[in-house]
């Protein structure tokens, strides 16, 4: 810290105002990345819009409530819907003493994040195996390990759709043969 102060002084004295401006940028840059675009403080209850701009949830909510006709991102004017913002959960950031103060205002809790299913890295390869192996539940190739990441619900659905396909093809075969 002392070094930084000394460096700034040095810049002020010997290198003119331009250098001190740069020193200021260097100091503030890291913090600036995570500042709310409205209150300019480190974002509390941070959320990010679909257009990628960071805000405190109370700040953005207040702005959206104040707009009657169209709801725009304060930075880029892209459309903003409160249920489509993405909350950011940092490590151990679930409790914040400042939240007590926030609760006094009529700001609802942040919308929860969405939970898309895990991406199957081998999905393209599995399709190339043809219909039949997939139909009967055979898993070949590199996709195998990723299927376990499915949630029980998704596994259940996959099982059902496979069963229906088998039944359907059985009926068609019966119709063709007899």
């Amino acid at each position: 810290m002392a070094e930084a102060v000394a460096a700034t002084e040095c810049c002020d004295k010997c290198c003119g105002p331009d250098s001190s401006d740069l020193a200021f940028l260097k100091d503030e840059n890291d913090a600036g990345l995570f500042e709310c675009n409205i209150c300019l403080e480190m974002a509390k209850e941070p959320i990010v819009t679909l257009c990628g701009h960071l805000f405190c949830w109370p700040c953005l909510f207040r702005w959206v409530q104040m707009q009657n006709f169209s709801r725009n991102c304060p930075v880029c004017k892209a459309g903003v819907e409160v249920d489509k913002v993405i909350p950011i959960y940092g490590r151990g950031s679930e409790f914040d003493p400042r939240q007590e103060a926030i609760k006094v205002q009529p700001v609802p809790p942040r919308p929860a994040g969405q939970r898309p299913s895990a991406v199957q890295a081998g999905a393209a390869g599995a399709n190339q195996q043809g219909v039949l192996p997939a139909l009967f539940g055979f898993q070949l190739g590199p996709g195998q390990g990723y299927v376990e990441a499915l949630t029980p619900e998704q596994q259940h659905q996959a099982f059902l759709s496979r069963l229906l396909l088998m039944l359907g093809s059985f009926v068609i075969m019966c119709l063709l043969l007899f």
């Binding site: 105002p17 331009d18 401006d21 675009n37 409205i38 403080e41 700040c59 702005w63 304060p74 930075v75």
Partner: protein, 193 residues
């Protein structure tokens, strides 16, 4: 409310550090809600060389509500009232966004000086002149800049002049301020008192 003050303080710090933009803002009240901004006249316009003072009034809703801004310095411009200094600029009205700051608003005023919008006028007389007699408009705007928007450096020269005549510096500053920058009027006031 705390958010409002925190943000204003942060903005002032930023303006102070960023000298490259040329605009400045100073608090003139105890509660941070009244400020005076300075906008240098843009280059290659009749406003070049002038420094335009802007009265800035914030309220507790800031930054969710736009700052109220008007020119204190008289300006000859289609989108600025030649009488009251009221400004017609969308971002100070319905196009305001809380991501804008005093600095960006002052820079927008500078951009407005550089590119008048006569189709959306604040002062109809000036707008008509801008459309029909551009040369006369330029001349008038330049004259107004020289008459009303002289930078403070001139004031210091005047103060020095008055001090050289044997008056107290603080009294000279006060008299010059009271006389609106008119050196002779300030001298008369000092001699009269």
């Amino acid at each position: 409310m705390d958010g409002t003050f925190g943000r204003i303080q942060k903005e002032l710090k930023e303006i102070e550090h960023d000298k490259a933009s040329g605009v400045t803002a100073e608090v003139v009240s105890d509660n941070l809600l009244r400020l005076i901004g300075c906008v240098p006249g843009p280059k290659d316009t009749p406003y070049e060389g002038g420094v335009f003072k802007v009265d800035i009034q914030l309220d507790a809703q800031y930054p969710f509500a736009p700052p109220k801004m008007k020119f204190m310095t008289r300006v000859w411009h289609p989108n600025v009232s030649s009488q009251s200094g009221a400004i017609c600029l969308d971002i100070l009205k319905d196009q305001w966004s809380p991501a804008l700051t005093l600095k960006t608003a002052l820079l927008s005023l500078q951009a407005l000086l550089a590119s008048p919008q006569p189709d959306d006028p604040q002062d109809a007389v000036v707008a008509n002149q801008y459309r029909s007699e551009k040369a006369t408009f330029d001349k008038t705007a330049r004259y107004w800049t020289e008459a009303f928007a002289r930078p403070d450096g001139d004031d210091e020269a005047k103060i020095q002049k008055i001090v050289d005549m044997g008056f107290d510096k603080a009294a000279a500053v006060a008299a010059l301020k009271a006389a609106g920058g008119d050196e002779n009027a300030a001298l008369e006031a000092l001699l009269g008192s």
